[in-house]
């Protein structure tokens, strides 16, 4: 009799899906960053009298995009796995210096050298994080100082110049091409190889991912190395834009990347909700904001104030409270 009672209860239970689908709200939340981008472009177009969408201003608008987008791709992968990387700016600086040195012999070799240098720095981060089990936050703050110090030391007696031919490469089409190639390759790797699956699974639940055959330690080490390599590659574009490197090259890049990704709707703790579009929408939004604000508010302090307020509003709207049981 007792068995019959429970059977009836469970039969009813099984006829109805356990929870009403939250499809609509997730779908909406995924699109919010995109709407945010449109809204910002619209608002600032109006405020600047249409200046920002004029073609001649486009390359100005997008000048910062290339380095930011390429580095953000790497950090995106790191954050998907649940980590953070505060050393990006320092990696950019140091890799740029490496490029400058080697560019005097051969530019392509220089690019390779810079990428390898970035990869080495990323591997350093990964090693300490994985092998010694130190939180990524701490490791990358330490290495931020560490690499930045090297950078400053090398430029003690003056900026490091690149070879002259490099400046000739500063063409928009070239930069767009390079960025596009990186994005396409990374998108492919993220979406069509098991790398993407592994990253999202490990970020969403590392223990469960481990029990499913993923190898979190190896994956995390590789992802930090990749992120370093990508930023190393981005340093190539950085140098062709500025020509020579000073001690403060790349400072605050990590914070810009963080803001950009968050604006793009990237969940802070990564996991399965991370979408590649976060990178693209986020960086575009950031760059538009960055370039439009001076046109509307001439005082740089006001620009920053508005930037901060918009940032807080966007984050408050896009944050997924369900997946943050404990807010820290």
């Amino acid at each position: 009799m007792e068995a019959m009672k429970t059977k009836t209860v469970s039969e009813i239970h099984d006829e109805v899906p356990a929870v009403k689908p939250k499809m609509n709200s997730t779908w909406l939340r995924n699109l919010t960053p995109f709407f945010g981008f449109i809204a910002i472009v619209a608002v600032f177009s109006i405020l600047t009298g249409g200046k920002i969408i004029r073609p001649e201003n486009l390359s100005l608008m997008l000048s910062q995009v290339y380095v930011l987008m390429i580095s953000s791709t790497g950090v995106f992968m790191v954050m998907t796995v649940g980590g953070l990387d505060f050393s990006q700016g320092s990696i950019l600086g140091l890799a740029s210096i490496v490029f400058c040195w080697v560019s005097h012999y051969n530019i392509i070799l220089g690019v390779i050298a810079a990428t390898l240098a970035g990869a080495a720095m990323g591997a350093f981060n990964g090693l300490f994080h994985v092998k010694f089990k130190i939180a990524s936050f701490i490791v990358t703050i330490c290495t931020m100082y560490f690499f930045r110090g090297l950078c400053k030391y090398i430029t003690t007696n003056g900026p490091v110049p690149a070879s002259m031919e490099v400046v000739a490469l500063n063409q928009t089409w070239f930069k767009v091409l390079l960025t596009a190639i990186v994005l396409v390759v990374c998108f492919f790797v993220f979406h069509c190889t098991r790398v993407g699956y592994d990253l999202r699974a490990i970020g969403a639940g590392e223990t469960a991912a481990r029990f499913s055959g993923c190898r979190p330690d190896l994956t995390k080490f590789l992802v930090y190395t990749m992120s370093g390599a990508l930023t190393g590659f981005a340093s190539f574009i950085n140098v062709i834009q500025v020509g020579s490197i000073t001690g403060t090259a790349g400072t605050q890049l990590e914070t810009k990347i963080l803001i950009a990704l968050v604006l793009g709707g990237m969940p802070i703790s990564g996991g399965a909700r991370a979408r590649f579009s976060n990178i693209i929408i986020g960086t575009l939004t950031y760059c538009v904001l960055e370039k439009s604000l001076p046109m509307v508010f001439p005082v740089s302090a006001t620009q920053q104030l508005v930037k901060g307020i918009i940032f807080l509003i966007v984050v408050a709207l896009t944050i997924d409270h369900k997946s943050l049981r404990v807010i820290k």
Partner: protein, 358 residues
């Protein structure tokens, strides 16, 4: 219970060595200890309680020794040591404040922006009200920022790391406005010698000493210390014990920024003024105090975080000055900071097998 998201318990998020969590898998079923193990246990514990301070002193002596041998004349003389100490205490004050937050697993990127803003408010008020203006300006501004941050954090329900980035941007901008209000002709500067008492003995010692004592007092003699640590250790259990977690997180921010206000007072006096910055440059100021906090957390299990913070900052300043004495260009400073920190964190960290480190 499944934690999803950047969580995982207090300093455990940053320092797995202090992670609590479920220690069930450490239960040893088969080892039965008898009564005579207790005396062995006592000696072990006694050893470990003082071990922390022995280690800190040893580190200090070690670094002093290294640089003294390498550069006997420009380094480490009693007079210079005093100078090093005076420099380090401003960061130690900030480090103490940060400790309250970090111990709960939170973080605040706007510490640097606070230093800038509070300094400028202090300078502004000092034009009219002299020392009173300076002190009241720095401390009140700091505290108000703490209230503002804490309020936004609890209302917006965004992780502290993210919300404080936005706040940093906003505070930096406000600092720039404040400078424009200073019509003295030397905006942001403390020009007269009559206002520089805090830049040297005895006042800098008095101020920082009071701050250290206050931090020690709060941690040891009020509930704030206990509850912040409990929240950091296991927020759910703490809540179940009747602790008002929201209230103490808010208080944590207020305390943090109050201490940062004190640090601003010292910083602006030492520096004879303050520059308003934009472009997130104030972030650079976040990390020196943070390093002291790292020391504090790493040694917290010995029960005297404030001491660890003070000695830790001193060690770092010692190292910097040692390098300067060796004629190493100051540009190498950051390199050394990063390296030393990394080494210390690696040595004091003990990650458990199977634990998830983010």
């Amino acid at each position: 219970m499944t934690y999803i998201g950047h969580s995982g318990g207090g300093p455990a998020m940053l320092f797995p060595a202090t992670r609590a969590g479920s220690e069930k898998y450490l239960q040893v079923h088969f080892i039965r200890s008898g009564g005579d193990m207790t005396s062995e246990r006592i000696t072990k514990i006694k050893a470990s309680k003082y071990f922390g301070i022995i280690l800190l002193v040893a580190l200090t002596l070690l670094f002093w020794g290294i640089f003294k041998i390498l550069s006997p004349n420009n380094f480490g003389t009693p007079k210079l040591l005093i100078g090093y100490f005076q420099t380090s205490i401003q960061y130690a004050v900030g480090g103490c404040g940060l400790y309250f937050i970090v111990v709960m697993g939170l973080f605040d990127f706007s510490v640097g922006a606070n230093i800038v803003l509070s300094s400028l408010v202090g300078v502004l008020l000092s034009r009219q009200f002299g020392y009173w203006g300076l002190v009241v300006g720095c401390l009140t501004c700091g505290t108000l920022i703490g209230v503002f941050n804490g309020f936004l954090y609890s209302k917006l329900r965004i992780p502290s790391m993210i919300v404080t980035v936005g706040l940093m941007l906003i505070l930096e901008s406000i600092a720039n406005y404040v400078v424009t209000l200073d019509t003295s002709g030397f905006p942001g500067k403390l020009t007269s010698n009559d206002i520089l008492a805090f830049s040297h003995a005895p006042w800098n010692y008095i101020v920082s000493g009071t701050a250290f004592f206050l931090a020690f007092f709060l941690l040891r003699f009020t509930r704030i210390g206990t509850y912040c640590k409990a929240i950091g250790s296991n927020e759910f259990v703490a809540k179940n014990m009747g602790i008002n977690v929201e209230k103490y997180k808010f208080l944590g921010f207020v305390i943090l920024h109050f201490f940062v206000g004190i640090m601003a007072l010292l910083t602006v006096s030492y520096g004879r003024g303050m520059l308003a910055v934009t472009g997130m440059s104030s972030m650079d100021r976040n990390f020196k105090p943070l390093m002291g906090t790292f020391f504090g957390v790493a040694f917290s299990k010995y029960g005297y975080p404030v001491t660890a913070i003070v000695i830790g900052e001193f060690i770092i300043t010692l190292i910097f000055n040692g390098l300067v004495a060796l004629n190493v260009p100051t540009t190498i400073n950051d390199f050394v900071t990063g390296a030393v920190l990394l080494i210390i964190v690696t040595l004091t960290n003990r990650g458990r097998k199977g634990s998830v480190v983010k």
